[in-house]
Each structure stands twice: as C-alpha cells, then as structure tokens.
C-alpha cells in the first residue's frame, strides 16, 4: 500500500492495522519481517468517487483469492481474458481535423445521393424530344404496374378468338411440335442424361484435340510443309468447285464471278510479277541453280495465267467493234470525236469480261445441244492456247529478260501454225507437258472445250484466292493475338452511362455577331478612307507575297466540296450508244473547226481575266488646250498609273483549249458550308442530313410531323415542377 492510499484510508482502518502490527511484533519478536500479502480490506470496497484516476488498475490476485481448484479455472480464464482486453482509448482528434473528416464523409454520402440521378440525367440529355411537365414518372409507374400484372393478363387466345370459338366450335388448332419436344426433354431419365453428358464430353474432347492440332500446325515453320498444305487445300477447293458445278451451277457461277474479281485485283497488283525481294534473290541465283530457276518460272507463270486476257470468240459483232475503234484514229483532231479517254486496258478488260459472261451463259444453254462451232473459233482457240504455251516456254528460256517476251509473242502470233510444234519440242517440265496434253485434248474435244477452258482458269484463280485468304487469316490471327491483352485492360474501365443523343443536331456554340445599332457591318470606316494608298499597299503586298502565294497554291489542300448528287436518272447514255453518238458528232461537225474556236474563246477569256493597270489621271490634267487635242506621253502621267502585279498562272494555262472558269461559283460561295459542323464527322454524313427533305411538299404528312417535332414542348400556362425522387427506379414514393 502506498502512502497516498494510506492517506485516504479512514481512521478506523488505521487503528485496526496498527493494532495488528503491535500484536505481531509481540508474538514474533525474532522473526524477520515477513512480507505480508495484501488483503482486501472491507473498507477498500468503499471507493472514493474523486480519486480513481491515480490508481493503477487493481487486479484481484487470484493466487490469494482463488485456490487451484478446477472449479475456479473458468473464472481464472475469464479474468485473464479481461486483462488482455484492456487498453486505453486514443486521444480525440483536434477539432479542425475532426471537422474535416466529418465533411469528407458527409460529402461522399451526398455524392452517392447525386449519383442516383446520373442515369436519369443522361437519358434526358440524349432525348430528341421532351415534353414538359415531364410525364415520364406516370409512364414509368404504369409500366411497372403492367409488368407486375403481365402474367395475369397474358392469355393464350385473344378475346376475339374466344368469341369466334364460341360461335364455331370447329376451329383448327395447330399443335406446335416444339412444345412436345420440350416435354420430352423434361422426362429424360438419369441414364439418358448420363449418356448425353458422355457424348458432350466426347465432343468437347474432340474439339480440344482439333484445336491443339491446329495450334501445333500453325507453329510449324517448314515452308515445304506449308506449300504442300496449300496445294492440298487448293485441290480440295477445286474438287468442291467441280462438284458445285455439277450440282448447283448458279452457285458455281457466283463463285466464278468472285474469282474473276480476284483476277482483276491481281491484274492491278504487282504480285507474282517478279519484283519482290524473294524473286530478285532467286533471279540472282537462277543462273547457276536450276531449282530456283524453276521456282521463278512457276511464279511468273502464275502471274501470266492470272493476268491473261480472255480471248473472245470472233463474232461479227467483234469485228464491227474493232472497225469502230479504229475509226477515230483515222479522222482528224476534232475534239468532239475524241471523247473521254478510257484506259485501254480497262476497257478491253471490261469488254472481255462481258463477253466471257455471255459466253458462260451460252455454254450453259448450249451444253445439251452440242452444236458444232465455226472453224474460225477453233482457229482462235488454237491461237490462244498456243500463245499461252509459248509464254510458258519463253518464261523458262529467258527469265532475266521478261521484256523480250512481248516481241517473241508478236512473232509467234504472226505464225500461229508453227507454234504447236515448237511447244511440243520444248516440253521439259512435267507440268507443261500435262498442260499441253490437256490442251491438245481440248482441241479434239470440241464439245467440252468451253467448260474446260473455264476450269483451267478457275484453277489458277482459286489458288490465288486461297493463298490470299490464308495470308489474310494469318495476319488476322496475329492481330488478334496482339490485341487480346489490350482488350483485357479495357474491361476494367468504368462503365460509361452516356448515350448518343437521339437527335443529330448541329451544335453551334459561337459568340453572337454583336454590332452597335448604327454601324454598317459590311464597310468599316477605315476601309472607306484609305483609297489609293490602301490599294497601293495591297498591291505591294501582293507583289511581295507572290512567290509565297505560288508555294501555297501548290501545297493547298483541295477544299471539301459538296457534290450535290441528284437522284435524277442519268441522262447520259453509256457505252453502247457512245460510239453511235461519236459517229453522229463527227458527221455534224465535219466542216467546223471547233478546236480553233475554242482556242480563240480561251484567248479572249484569258485577256479578259488579266488585271488591267489603273489610270488615276483625271481628264484635263496636264493639258492646257482643252479637249480634243492629242496628249503627249508625259512622265508625270505615268506616275498616276498604278501598275497591276502579274497574276498567278491560270489553272487552265497548259490545258490546251480547256477553259476553267473559277469565278462561276463566286455568288454561291457565300452560301456554302466550309466545314463539317460539330456532331457530324464526315462530309457524307452531313450531306445526307441536308439532302433529306423535311417539308410536307416532299415527304408524307406523318413523316413531316415527325420531322418538325420540336425538341422541347411545354403546355401553355402550366407550371413545370422540378423533378423529384419519384422518377428514380427503386425509390419508394
């Protein structure tokens, strides 16, 4: 017991203690002072209200109170636990800090309150039309109600149907088969279920196996393997195509068209032309290495086959067209006769393609007739085939000089009869042999020639297509592989509630053009004052900046033009009648020299367009004699002539007799839109929006009403209340 505690102990207590001490001293005078264990005195129970704090927490000493009996162990444990639990409370935060925390928490709570409104606000902003006061609340509640009652209201038959049934009981009923199936499914036994599961697992295993296999195959780097694979695939495709041709000719035809398109693309591209890195390296090696030579030849052969123009059967039409084509070259340089220059190759191709198609059609029709062809066509076929074969041989012979081929071709064309022999003599390659054999056979079999011809072409094209497809797939696969991790990252992004606004209105967020009441917006006063000086300065600037302007004009990006394409039918007749009109033109303008007229007109136009010097001399200046008397050339007079700078060359400067009038659209220019307005991204989109009329003279009444519906409608004399929480889903009202 400490002294302090003693201090508070009552008098009575002190007396008692003293007495005890005295008694003990008397009883055991020799014994050393034995430490006496503290005993809870009765007075201790009366704890003073004012002095708790100074004490250490008093724990009852269980050694003293509780003897080691099993009975007390529980209590012992409890006490121990309570001992562990005690800890002092932390000091409270300072007031400003506490306030800050409180504010933070409250703000976050309110934020959640506001977040509830996000969806409502977003949907409101996106809506194209709104009527105030908002009716959405009512509607929403109604829909909720109807949703609740939906099942009750749902009937299999409508009221009308029921009525009809009452009248006429013999109404046919169609049982839907699916329902029966569903019922069956429900009654599956355990065994069946297990079986089914087994099957499914088998299927899955198979799928996995296939996937794994594909993956393995994809990893194989061997080129040879891939080549073989490709060839196999091509073969398969060809087989498929053949089957298709027999079973479904229309589909086959479609496929053919696709192939034809691929061919066209090939013709435009530089593939298989021997310009690639690989081909060049092979070329280098070709001199010594037979294999590479062969490969190159193959490659070139592919390109030859793909880019080959179809030889057309020589009809009387064809001859006529040829003569027509040759006509304009013979006539003079009358511009009317020339017509628009079409790329020779393209036009030829188009013609050939058309004829090819028609031919296809014919063969389909005539397949059964087995009508014999003219001798002319046979000869032509021969020729074409020979050419093909020859080209092949040429390719093998002189790979390094592909340009020479043309010449040789021409030579052989002149002597078509010799060709066959030559071909036969130059059969080194097995492939060639096969082909030539095939072709020879074809000549013999007149009936089948067309079909076979097509097929041979098809073969090449299919190869081409498949190769392309493969490469594409590979690229895609690679891209997918790359993009996947990025996608995963994106998933974690916050979901955006914003939706595209339903009305695509142009947003013009600009300052108003604000002018004071009495000012003229067009002419500024300063502009009025500066007359000659201003002009001169402008002129000077122009002359100075001439070179710059030149540069800028060359760099200038062409302005976005709005092409008003009317839906009006095109009155210009195409292709077929073109030649006739040309003919007519030639006849009509035989005598006139239109070209000259044009050039004359252009000269006048150019002259007119040139800026003229400004003579600022006033009449009467420098002449004392009055009017009617010839003036001498005076130096002073020259001073008042403002020389105009040289202008930029006209756009039609070196375009022959073409006149480009750049001022034609000046008037309309101020009405044209220069930029695509905000929510639109492309000129096309914007044009579409403009081109669609909305007036009731162009569209039906209902559409018109819909188009002119205003964005915000209010009821006259009705107060618009602010929204309340009833609008929100899940908030009880």
């Amino acid at each position: 017991m400490s002294a302090i505690s003693d201090f508070y102990i009552s008098d009575e207590d002190i007396d008692l203690k003293n007495d005890e001490k005295v008694v003990e001293n008397i009883l055991h005078p020799n014994k050393a002072h034995r430490k006496k264990k503290t005993q809870e005195s009765r007075s201790k129970l009366q704890i003073s209200n004012f002095t708790i704090n100074n004490h250490k927490p008093i724990h009852a000493d269980q050694d003293l109170i509780l003897e080691p009996k099993t009975k007390h162990s529980k209590i012992k444990n409890k006490v121990e636990k309570s001992k562990k639990k005690t800890f002092t409370l932390p000091k409270p935060l300072e007031k400003p800090k506490a306030d800050r925390v409180k504010r933070l928490v409250n703000y976050e709570k309110n934020r959640f309150l506001f977040d509830r409104w996000e969806a409502f606000v977003a949907s409101n902003r996106a809506q194209a039309h709104q009527t105030f006061p908002l009716e959405s609340v009512k509607k929403l509640k109604e829909t909720v109600k109807s949703a609740v009652n939906f099942e009750k209201d749902l009937t299999y038959k409508s009221k009308l149907q029921l009525e009809i049934e009452k009248l006429n009981t013999e109404v046919e009923e169609y049982n839907i088969q699916e329902d029966v199936n569903e019922n069956e499914e429900v009654t599956l036994t355990l065994k069946e279920l297990k079986e089914r599961r087994k099957e499914l697992s088998k299927l899955r295993a198979h799928q996995r196996y296939k996937e794994a296999k594909l993956r393995r195959q994809n990893k194989i780097k061997s080129k040879k393997y891939h080549r073989l694979l490709r060839k196999e695939k091509i073969k398969q495709k060809l087989n498929e195509f053949e089957i298709l041709q027999k079973t479904n000719p229309e589909e086959a035809l479609k496929k053919l068209e696709e192939i034809e398109k691929a061919r066209v693309l090939e013709r435009f591209s530089l593939r298989h032309k021997g310009t690639s890195q690989w081909a060049k390296s092979k070329q280098v090696r070709a001199k010594y290495d037979k294999e590479s030579r062969q490969m190159l030849a193959e490659q070139l052969q592919i390109s030859k086959d793909l880019t080959q123009k179809k030889k057309v059967e020589s009809d009387s039409e064809d001859d006529a067209s040829e003569t027509e084509q040759s006509l304009p070259s013979n006539t003079g340089e009358n511009p009317w006769t020339r017509g628009p220059k079409v790329d020779q190759e393209v036009s030829e191709f188009l013609n050939s393609f058309k004829k090819f198609q028609s031919k296809l059609h014919k063969t389909k029709q005539d397949n059964e007739d087995n009508s014999t062809k003219n001798k002319d066509t046979d000869v032509q076929m021969n020729e074409s085939l020979d050419n093909e074969c020859l080209e092949e041989t040429n390719d093998e012979i002189d790979i390094k000089k592909p340009k020479k081929k043309g010449k040789t071709e021409k030579q052989h064309k002149i002597l078509p009869t010799n060709v066959l022999k030559k071909v036969q003599s130059s059969q080194d390659d097995k492939k060639n042999l096969k082909r030539s054999d095939k072709k020879l056979n074809l000549i013999n079999k007149k009936k089948l020639e067309d079909v076979e011809d097509i097929l041979t072409n098809v073969e090449n094209k299919l190869k081409q297509r498949i190769e392309k497809g493969e490469s594409k797939n590979a690229r895609k696969a690679r891209q997918v592989g790359q993009s996947q991790p990025i996608k995963k990252k994106k998933v974690t992004k916050k979901i955006d509630l914003s939706m595209p606004s339903q009305n695509k209105k142009q947003v013009i967020d600009e300052e108003m053009i604000e002018q004071p009441v009495n000012s003229n917006p067009q002419i500024d006063s300063s502009e009025m004052n500066g007359s000659i000086d201003a002009l001169k300065t402008i002129l000077n600037v122009e002359t100075n900046s001439k070179s710059q302007i030149k540069d800028s004009t060359t760099d200038k990006v062409k302005p976005k033009t709005t092409n008003l394409v009317f839906t009006l039918p095109n009155l210009i007749v195409e292709n077929d009648q073109e030649e006739d009109t040309n003919q007519v033109m030639i006849e009509a303008f035989e005598d006139d020299d239109i070209a000259k007229d044009f050039s004359k007109e252009k000269k006048a136009e150019v002259e007119n367009d040139k800026p003229h010097d400004i003579d600022l001399n006033l009449p009467g200046w420098g002449s004392w004699a009055g009017t009617g008397i010839k003036l001498k050339k005076q130096r002073k007079r020259r001073r008042f002539i403002v020389k105009m700078p040289e202008v930029l060359p006209r756009r039609d400067d070196n375009k022959g007799s073409l006149i480009i009038n750049e001022k034609a659209a000046v008037k309309i220019k101020s009405h044209l839109v220069s930029d695509v307005p905000f929510p639109f991204k492309t000129v096309k989109d914007y044009e579409c929006s403009i081109r669609a009329p909305i007036g009731n003279s162009f569209v039906p009444e209902i559409a018109y009403r819909k188009y002119i519906k205003p964005a915000i409608q209010t009821k006259m004399g009705t107060i618009i209340e602010p929204v309340n929480t009833k609008v929100l889903m899940g908030v009880p009202n």
């Binding site: 105030f132 162009f698 002119i708």
Partner: protein
C-alpha cells in the same frame, strides 16, 4: 375510235366544308423533286429572316417602385403573381397579366435583401437590412386593415439572402453565418460556420432538398447538408461568385454567376473544375436563374444586359437590353418556361419573352406546324453561313460593343504573350491550361 377522257371524281378535289383545307395531291417521288434541298434552303433563309423581323422580346414593365428593385420572388403555384422588394424597404405584390401593383407596404428599414414564397404559396418571407425575418400572408389584408407580418423574427446576425426548401417549412438565410430556420420558431434550427466572415447568397437544391449552396465573400462556393451534417465542401475561385442557381432537372448541376464576367456550371460531384464556362457578359454577372426545363438559364449583369444561355453551351444565344434598363439586380425565368422577369437599378421590373420571336397565345394547327417547320429548317441549315450570320446577328449598345472589343484585345494579348513565353522557355514549362481549369483555385474539404 375510242376517245380517252380525263375524268375524276368530285370527292377528290371538293371540300366538304369551307373550313377544310384544299386537298393537295403530291407525288413524293424524290426523282420529281430534284431541287428539294435548294428550295428548303431558301425557305430556311426566309424563316431566319422572318425570325429577326418578329424578334420583339420586350413585353412590358411593372413600374411603381420608388427605389431600385432588390429582389423578386415567383409564386410557386400561380403564374400571374409576383413579389418584389426594393432598396427602400418597400415590398410590392404584382398582378403580371394586368401589370398592376395589387399591394404595397414598407416591410423593412433599409434594403429588402430577400423575398421568397413558402412552398404552397400561402405566405411569403422577407428579410431586410434591419436583421429581421418577416413572414407575410399572401392574401390581401381586409379593407381597412393594415399590412402586418404574421411572424417577425429578430436575427442575431445580419441576413443577406434567403432560400426556402422545396417541400417543407425550413428555410436558410446567409449573412455572417448560414442559419436554418423553421417557420414557427424564433431561433435558428442550426447555424453553420466555416471560417468565412460573410456569405451573400444561399440557394437550396430543388431536387435533393437537403443540399444547399452558398456564395461567400472569400471567393468561395460552399455546399451544405441541411440534415445536421454541416458544410460538405468548398470550392475557391479566382473571383467572387455573386449568385448560385441549381438546375431543377439535373440534381447535381449548379451554375454560379461570377464577378469575372463569366458564369460557371459545376458538377457537385467534381468541383475541381467547372463543367462549362459561359462567357459573353462584359460586366460582373449579378444574377442567374434556371429555366424550369433545366435546358437553359438566364443571367443578369452589371453591364445592363440580360443574356440567355443554353445550359451546355459556352456562349449565349440571346441578349436583351433596352436603353433605359440599368444594372440588373435580379432575373427570373417564369415557371411556364415562357417569360423572363428582370428587376434592375432603375426601379422597373421588366417582362420579356424567353424566345424573342415566339408567337404567344393559342395558334391554329396549320400555323403551329408552319412555325415548327420553320424552326426545323433553321436547325437543319443552322451551319450554313448566311443562316448562321442572320440568326446570330444582334444589335447591342455601343458600350457593350466597345467593351467587347476591348476584351477581345486583352484576350488576344494574353494569348500572344503566353505563346511567346511558351516559345522561349523549356518545353513543358508553360503548359497549356484549358479555359475550364483556369478559374478555380482549389477545392477544400
């Protein structure tokens, strides 16, 4: 020989009554209307010109106050009634359609700082410079009776502004502190302080009724929660905000009228920077009020003009001014979204149309459709230069024009200087700061 005759039935072209519109037969085949867009463009051009012809927004004024109008309050349930307080302590109740003052009395010693109706419109509360908060009956006193307040409360502190909660009898006043009052108590329910000497405006959120905002003299806007939670957050701007207005349709959006000629729209959940900066005024903006649709708001300024902004646009779509209108003290958008009421320094209350060229009153369907068609055309061709030019052209007083020119010069100069700085300093040293980020100093919590 058979002769073919054109014949048609009378039903197709005759009217049943003379009121019926003549039937017009149209072929809507687009091929037959190759010039449809050109024709519509012409119509749009005419429409936009006519809009200018009919743009006469000023409807009339309520005159009677003998000192500047200090504050106005709209009746929450009646469109025709209005209360206004003046700088001389006078309060007037107006009948708008008749343009008559139906009631006038002196409510306070000194300026009437704020007026507001109770939610049901039975009473209105005024506060004045004499530190009193007085509640008045909306009904006119009987003949011979004098105007007596129903209740008078003496506040311990100065009160400068007043706002009533949407659907309860609680209202807030600002002054040295923000106080929450209940209608029939003489002591404030709560008092909020957050280290500010004076607050000059307070406004309750109209959607979430327990949140309200206040503008303080330390250039800050403070958000409060009325449910014994005290202030929530504070955002300090470069210059002081004069007035705060909550969007009635978008709970978390509010706009404040600032001393730096701009208005700022904030999202309560992200106060770091405003959602939008609305420019165009050339003087301190003193008042802002939202249209009940929440799509637009109107602002009054010290530059003697009223401007109407589309809520999500940075520039105004309309400017109203008259020669005699002086500094604006308050502008309100009526609850039917049709009119704007403005009170200004020169003792008049003015009534304007919210859309300058709108035709008021009932219309027959054809007329209405024609006007709607014109509007639709204007929207369709809005970005065509001529239509844009005509539609956005406004005459303004010379002082506005000159001030604007001056501001342009100032802005240009600042931009140039910044550009120069950027050009002559290390890369990234002078960053590009978006306009929205320029005006907020910090967000305090």
């Amino acid at each position: 020989m058979k002769v073919k005759v054109i014949s048609r039935s009378a039903d197709q072209y005759l009217r049943n009554t003379k009121l019926e519109i003549h039937k017009v037969f149209r072929n809507f085949d687009p091929d037959l209307h190759p010039f449809s867009d050109a024709r519509e463009y012409t119509r749009a051009l005419n429409a936009v010109k006519l809009e200018k012809v009919f743009a006469k927004p000023f409807l009339g004024n309520l005159d009677g106050h003998r000192d500047s109008v200090a504050c106005i309050a709209k009746h929450p349930t009646r469109l025709s009634s209005l209360v206004s307080g003046a700088f001389d302590g006078e309060v007037r109740v107006w009948d708008i359609p008749q343009r008559l003052c139906v009631r006038e009395f002196v409510a306070h010693n000194g300026i009437v700082r704020g007026v507001t109706y109770t939610p049901k419109g039975e009473h209105f509360i005024t506060i004045g410079d004499d530190k009193t908060i007085k509640t008045w009956n909306s009904l006119m006193p009987q003949f011979g009776e004098e105007d007596e307040p129903v209740n008078t409360v003496l506040s311990k502190t100065v009160v400068t502004s007043l706002s009533h909660q949407k659907k309860s009898n609680i209202f807030a006043t600002s002054g040295e502190v923000v106080q929450l009052w209940e209608a029939n108590r003489n002591q404030p329910l709560k008092t909020y302080e957050w280290g500010v000497d004076s607050l000059h405006d307070v406004a309750f959120n109209m959607v979430e009724p327990n949140v309200f905002g206040a503008c303080a003299s330390d250039r800050s806007i403070i958000l409060y929660d009325a449910r014994d939670k005290g202030p929530l957050r504070k955002v300090i701007m470069k210059l002081r905000s004069n007035k705060i207005a909550w969007n009635p349709m978008e709970a978390f959006i509010f706009t404040c009228a600032n001393e730096d000629y701009n208005l700022y729209t904030f999202d309560t959940r992200n106060l770091k920077k405003p959602v939008n900066v609305h420019m165009d005024h050339v003087g301190a903006v003193t008042y802002v009020d939202y249209a009940p649709t929440g799509k637009e708001f109107v602002s009054g300024s010290y530059d003697k003009t009223i401007r109407i902004f589309t809520a999500d646009h940075g520039h105004s779509r309309e400017i109203y001014h008259t020669k005699r209108m002086q500094r604006l003290t308050c502008v309100h958008w009526t609850l039917d979204n049709k009119f704007i009421i403005s009170g200004s320094d020169e003792m008049n209350i003015r009534i304007w149309k919210a859309r300058a060229s709108e035709k008021l009153g009932p219309m027959n369907p054809r007329e209405r459709n024609a006007l709607r068609y014109a509007d639709a055309l204007k929207d369709k061709f809005a970005s065509h230069p001529q239509i844009k030019r005509i539609g956005r052209h406004r005459h303004v007083p010379k002082h506005i024009y000159n001030a604007q020119k001056e501001l342009h010069v100032i802005k240009k100069k600042q931009k140039r200087k910044e550009g120069n700085r950027r050009a002559h300093s290390k890369r990234g040293e002078v960053p590009y700061v978006p306009e929205r980020a320029k005006h907020v100093i910090k967000e305090v919590h």
